[in-house]
Symmetry: D2
Subunit: 336 residues, 4 copies
């Protein structure tokens, strides 16, 4: 941590800062130049509140040096993590595609889609039983019944299931039935839920909030990991910008950035990011080429009748084509 | 709703759209020009999913005409709402200041601050018992004990209390002890919590999410109102932009926009928005001049020792000066 | 400047950095802790390129400590600047309103509006002769003829004129005829134009770019001042965010931030920021309450026939009311 | 264009709107429902100013239906454009890589880099002679001398050159010496320069502004094309968002969006977008996989000594590896 002092600061103004640092057991070094005077600390400063230091009238600014995440970061865990979930691997060179409908609508629908995506090479089945909707008047999913239909599809196809939890009310059901518990973008900083889900010690797929920085995403992962889970998959699904041609702006560069800063697998969801099915294919390929560890794709056998997000769902035929190209792109970037 | 068709669309492609609209009981009119062909619907289209229409291959784009919120909107409720909460009025010309520490730290602290802000003219006491923190390792508030200390301060000063709920676990305690239940920015789209809090039928202070549009804020209010509460206070507390000189960018223009679109009272929180105590005064005055119905301000008797957000808290002395100026600005804008 | 080194950096990797610093005459101090190793420099580092240091493989990150602007900053010019332009003062307690139409359309129009705004207390006449338009097919202003009509209005009313320059082609005409040369938001980083206008040594009104940080705005002012002009007025006119309820988001907090970091006067343009005339009044009052040194307002005697930006122009009647309220707000915030 | 009227609008309030439309020769149709009343126009409405309509007090909102660009759009030019520039093709299946240093520094430097990038398969040489720099005190390029050094490199290698123009002062030199004239992001809405460069009727590379929408980029292209040039190459180089882990956020989805809306070739610049050389490779591959028509890459033989932007430049060795992978990714996405 670096503390920059205001021009013309008096010695007696700085003393209480040194006193506070000393009490916290921190060794500080001063750097003084013609125009600037700074206090540098190179030890573990996690015990000091930046905020308290900012309150001293002589402090102009503070700059943090260390990353605030430890469990999610690469610094103390340089190897990429590989997770084996229900026989499907992800991370450290293992690529996984999670596909399925936005929301589970019926037995017939979910079984048909599950069979189709498995045939094309998907390794996880995704599907929403509980749906976050902007309007209180919109379809909110089948709830527990939807969760049971997913389990039925899992039994038929063998694919582990990924599905979103929206409140702690259903923690037990998710602990029992889901293979990967998804935390949606809107709940990325629902800190209570993060801790509770972490305590289940199950694999978690954590979606980046629409306006969350990469550091905040890693801090949310840290919450889950501090709660007890060691298997967190990070998912970029578009951030909010001024551009309106796509629903959100898919931050593809989050892939190499997250891979550099963290050991956790990174998955991209181009369906929610773009909002239009015809942009899903190019963005799925882009994410793969950027080095993602997997994709999350919405597939619907009858998009125009979908109860939710039909416009961003691809048909099983298009999904099949995407899978073929994704495989070829992975080969293309593999060798140097 | 307006449906814009692609150039060169064939009649047989449009038919299924008209059929679907007919089934939904919607009367559609077509507008055809040299370069564009549109279908216009002026009735209640809340029953149709935009998404299903977007799936028809001949559809280029959809434009929504009606506002999706009814309970929160001005259209069906043209008069400004006035709420009387524990004897304190807000809205429709009544101005209310909610002041207090970021988090409740001790009996001594909360009683001293409560007395001070009351003396200067605050009408509500704010204080956090449960704190959302970006880091899992940071102080998270005193919890229920904090809630009880707030109640003690209320008994001494008579000020109703505003405090944030973070999870449904404590719904009963908040229903019993809080006068205004606050939903924080990070939970603005925690739809489960919105419905549950709405069902308590108590006054709610709803903070705008960091990247939520004004329409999304009103839809979140709609959730609470559809849940049962009729008293929702809207709070702007800064949005996330590219600018880093302030913690967030306070969207002061949200005040006149919200007042135009909704009948609910609008409160501004300049403390969280700017992140620095010395910007709180000018922004509190700006919000007042823009026509806000109230302010939410962090006040701490000892900012440098605050356990949370000390840098953005003003002292009781500064608060007193702000209150004086706020009163004068309100007079200045009152008469035409 | 602080250089943070990567974990596990070898001594031989750091040597070339020290060598480079030494060659630049910079005294560096090292701060070493358990997990972090940093090089701190407190002298004048304006001669080193951050970029060259970032190229050394052992460098993880660089943090700049000093502000990169000198002429525009408060550090070496602690007193607020006051400019006297054609008998009108602005800055350091002097408040100035610049009012007039978006574009000059005819002699009759500009003379009528000029007389009206002067009557209500405006001190500068604004009006566009050259207009930047998003579409190549839109009205682009009367050009030099417009400039001459402004001069005519100046002769009649005595008000100095503010008008936008769009290219270096007309530098001579602006040098001769304009009292304040405006650089528009879209040209804020047209560095050639900034230098050329600076060399005229005339007062300049510099608008903040739609996505420019406050630091970039001050660096653009620095360009003009390094070019020769000492009288730069900074103008915030809305930044681009995700919100679409207003055309742009007026960053009112830019007022206290700019006042803290710079000695130059700060003016707010709520007309372009909001895009709707009915939001202009509340935002003009907000800007005044936040401590702005002036306002720039679009006034049109016949908004629905305006050739440009009619929707954001207020009538002379509304302008008169705004001026009254602005005066009262200024009194309200004056005394402590 | 759709005009939505306010609730409770009287007939006499609407009449002047119909009158104005009639005068402009526009046939309007009214759509009336229980809660909404709209006026729809399907003909050519480019002659009406949205702004004038917004001034009528009974108008709530306007929605534009037609795209405002004609020359740059796909509607009237459904085939993808292919440009042949100095023997190098781009667009419509032809892929082109533009590589070279951020700025031309010396004869030795530019010749060495030109030879290296040609060897690896680049088809255009990029290099800055005039450099836009945020600070007035930074290196601004060699100017005309730099342009001549580029021409020398072109003579040696046969590669056509791409270089940025910053002001109209040097139009003649660029007309004579450059093969592709680059308009930088900061000048994307320097409308005077756009028209002047268009009038040269030479190929232009137009970079998207940091906060420009895709529609604004196409409108800027429209300016150049209306000026006379028919060969405009669009370049995405990162947009400004709240994320700070990369310098800007590369909007990879701009590739399929631009390809859908326009017939012009689309090129991606991952060097400026990310700001760090180690993110250039993954993002170059992502852009290729998304369907870009080309790449613009900064290559420097000695990045740590570069006078500008060294941190984002790759070495010739890394460039060679990128080119190999780019070629393989193009094959991977080619067949269905």
């Amino acid at each position: 941590m670096i503390v920059i002092l205001k021009r013309g600061t008096q010695e007696r103004e700085v003393e209480p800062i040194y006193k506070m640092l000393e009490e916290c057991g921190i060794i500080a070094q001063e750097i003084t130049g013609e125009t600037t005077r700074m206090i540098g600390m190179a030890g573990d400063t996690s015990g000091i509140s930046e905020d308290s230091i900012l309150c001293f009238p002589c402090v102009e600014r503070i700059m943090r040096v260390q990353e605030p995440y430890k469990l999610a970061g690469r610094k103390f865990h340089p190897e990429e993590s590989v997770f084996d979930i229900g026989g499907q691997k992800i991370g450290g060179g293992h690529f996984a595609v999670m596909a399925g409908p936005c929301s589970v609508e019926s037995e017939e629908q979910i079984l048909a889609i599950a069979a189709a995506v498995k045939d094309s090479g998907a390794s996880f089945l995704r599907g929403g039983a509980f749906k976050p909707r902007t309007s209180p008047y919109a379809f909110k999913g089948l709830g527990l019944e939807g969760l049971e239909l997913l389990v039925m599809a899992k039994r038929k196809t063998g694919m582990p299931i990924v599905t979103e939890i929206m409140s702690s009310e259903y923690l037990d059901a998710f602990a029992e039935l889901a293979d990967v518990i998804q935390i949606g973008a809107r709940n990325m900083q629902n800190f209570t839920l993060l801790s509770q889900v972490g305590a289940l010690k199950k694999p978690v797929l954590l979606k980046r909030g629409l306006s969350s920085t990469i550091e905040e995403l890693l801090m949310a992962a840290e919450y889950i990991m501090a709660g007890g889970s060691s298997e967190v998959i990070l998912c970029e699904r578009g951030i909010r910008t001024f551009e309106t041609a796509t629903r959100n702006t898919l931050d593809v560069s989050a892939v190499p950035v997250l891979k550099a800063k963290s050991h956790l697998p990174v998955v991209i969801d181009p369906s929610h990011a773009t909002g239009y099915w015809y942009y899903v294919e190019p963005m799925a390929l882009a994410a793969t080429a950027a080095g993602a560890d997997g994709l999350m794709l919405e597939v619907h056998n009858n998009p125009e009748l979908a109860l939710c997000d039909g416009a961003q769902s691809v048909t099983p035929q298009v999904f099949h084509r995407i899978m073929n190209k994704v495989g070829r792109v992975r080969e293309a970037i593999a060798s140097s």
